[in-house]
């Protein structure tokens, strides 16, 4: 029986990291899901919500709830822990019981990619091959809001040619300092936090840093490239979709 998945791509992946979104489609299909994508979706409203603009966030939440209600897919899957967590927060945007129930229903249907593969489908080996030394960056919302810690690691350990190197215990769960508007409201502070993370990544001697959120990858990748580092930021979905036999 094929599982029917509706992709919640997130605006960031859509416009800045399309390879992550395309990778998610590829992987989901490879493990036997059928994938649909509703082009009416845009942004989940997280930037507005996190900056305190609740009416704006609420309007976008309503839209997205309606968009996904029109699909009878078995699950909604997103290559972003942060935006998945945002959908799970939708309920608190509403006072009206009807909307709260609809928001809750959407939250329950939505899964972050790695957690969907491992916990819902019971798949760890997605047939990927990606010859590189890589480390995993736990994005905070995936880690602390959704409790995703083992899932991506289990998937990465099954990737042919990939060698997973953990960061030092003090840095492994450390924030990258992105925090949405925080990264532009307090750029020096954001970068000071980021530099500790980037130092740890460089000390680990890896080729690639992998994460489940395009936002963290923008932040980490932006600093890596500014520092002239050879470490490349890659989204988890890209790694899982990869069939390459030579190093990236």
């Amino acid at each position: 029986m094929t599982m029917r998945v509706s992709l919640f791509v997130t605006c960031l992946a859509d416009q800045l990291w399309p390879a992550a979104a395309a990778g998610a489609v590829e992987v989901l299909r490879r493990v036997g899901c059928s994938v649909e994508f509703d082009e009416r979706q845009t942004c989940c409203g997280q930037p507005a919500f996190n900056t305190g603009y609740r009416p704006e966030a609420r309007a976008l939440a309503r839209r997205l709830i309606e968009v996904f209600e029109s699909s009878d897919a078995d699950a909604i899957v997103s290559p972003s822990g942060s935006c998945t967590a945002m959908l799970r927060h939708y309920e608190q945007l509403f006072e009206d019981a009807g909307w709260r129930a609809r928001a809750r229903r959407l939250g329950e249907r939505t899964h972050e990619l790695s957690s969907f593969l491992v916990n819902r489908l019971g798949v760890e080996d997605v047939g990927a091959s990606f010859p590189a030394r890589l480390t995993w960056h736990d994005a905070c919302h995936g880690l602390r809001d959704l409790g995703i810690r083992d899932e991506p690691r289990r998937l990465l350990r099954r990737v042919r040619g990939a060698e997973l190197v953990e960061l030092s215990p003090a840095s492994v769960e450390a924030c990258c300092g992105f925090g949405g508007t925080f990264s532009v409201k307090y750029p020096e502070l954001s970068v000071a936090i980021l530099d500790e993370k980037v130092d740890a990544i460089e000390r680990a001697g890896v080729d690639v840093v992998v994460s489940g959120d395009a936002s963290c990858l923008l932040q980490i990748g932006g600093r890596l490239s500014r520092r002239g580092s050879s470490v490349r930021p890659v989204h988890l979905a890209e790694v899982l979709a990869s069939r390459r036999s030579s190093p990236p």
Partner: protein
């Protein structure tokens, strides 16, 4: 002029108004992931003291009559871990000897004891070479000049290496605090397993109960440990086992 009765009324009214507003605003648990799903029916509890949402009913292990070897050894282990000394003795005569040794080793000359009869008996058994101060009439400066204070402790807590001193039983507050050395006499029959057991057994008639776990300490400078900053540098427990 502050009329504290008015302030009291005002604060209580503000509290009640806020709580009423909160209840009207859609109930306690209706604010997203905000109110952690605590175990138990927290908000449904009625009148003060009528229910016990937090504290689980604890099967008290009962009085530690005849203190098992286990309790004694975990107590002494914990004492060592927190930097306190411990000597286990059997009978009062042995205790008096041990006390003299402890004081001599620590080079304590001026010694002051509490009014507990046991302390008084042991102190009077001390040989020469010690100056025995009397607590009554001792000035602050006189107290500050003492080398060692001797008290009893009413309870010991095995899981933490803690001494419990009750004010209703003797004058122990300053003697266990001001001199650089504190010697505490504790009967092994008064060892409790856990903090919870001790809390259940403490005499609430005391206006001051002091829990002491090891010597005075500070880490306020670069988180570096220094022992004996305001209180004693040495805490020595004389654990008295019953004579067979």
């Amino acid at each position: 002029m502050i009329r504290t009765a008015d302030a009291r009324r005002e604060i209580l009214r503000a509290i009640r108004e806020s709580l009423a507003e909160s209840a009207a605003g859609g109930g306690a648990a209706r604010e997203g992931p905000v109110e952690p799903r605590a175990a138990g029916p927290g908000s449904a509890v009625g009148s003060t003291g009528s229910a016990d949402p937090g504290a689980k009913p604890r099967g008290s292990t009962g009085p530690a009559a005849g203190a098992s070897k286990d309790v004694v050894s975990s107590f002494t282990e914990r004492l060592a871990a927190v930097g306190a000394q411990c000597t286990v003795v059997r009978g009062e005569a042995a205790a008096a000897h041990a006390l003299a040794d402890i004081l001599t080793d620590a080079a304590a000359r001026r010694v002051v004891g509490s009014d507990a009869p046991l302390v008084q008996r042991l102190l009077s058994a001390l040989g020469d070479g010690f100056v025995r101060e009397r607590l009554e009439g001792l000035s602050r400066d006189g107290l500050f000049a003492c080398d060692a204070g001797v008290t009893t402790a009413q309870w010991g807590i095995a899981e933490t290496g803690t001494l419990v001193l009750e004010s209703a039983r003797e004058k122990n507050r300053l003697l266990s605090l001001v001199p650089p050395i504190h010697v505490a006499l504790l009967s092994s029959t008064c060892l409790c397993d856990s903090l919870g057991d001790a809390l259940a057994r403490m005499s609430r008639a005391s206006h001051a109960i002091t829990l002491i776990t090891g010597p005075s300490r500070t880490s306020d400078i670069e988180l570096t440990l220094v022992v004996g900053v305001h209180g004693p540098q040495v805490v020595h427990v004389l654990l008295l086992e019953e004579e067979p």
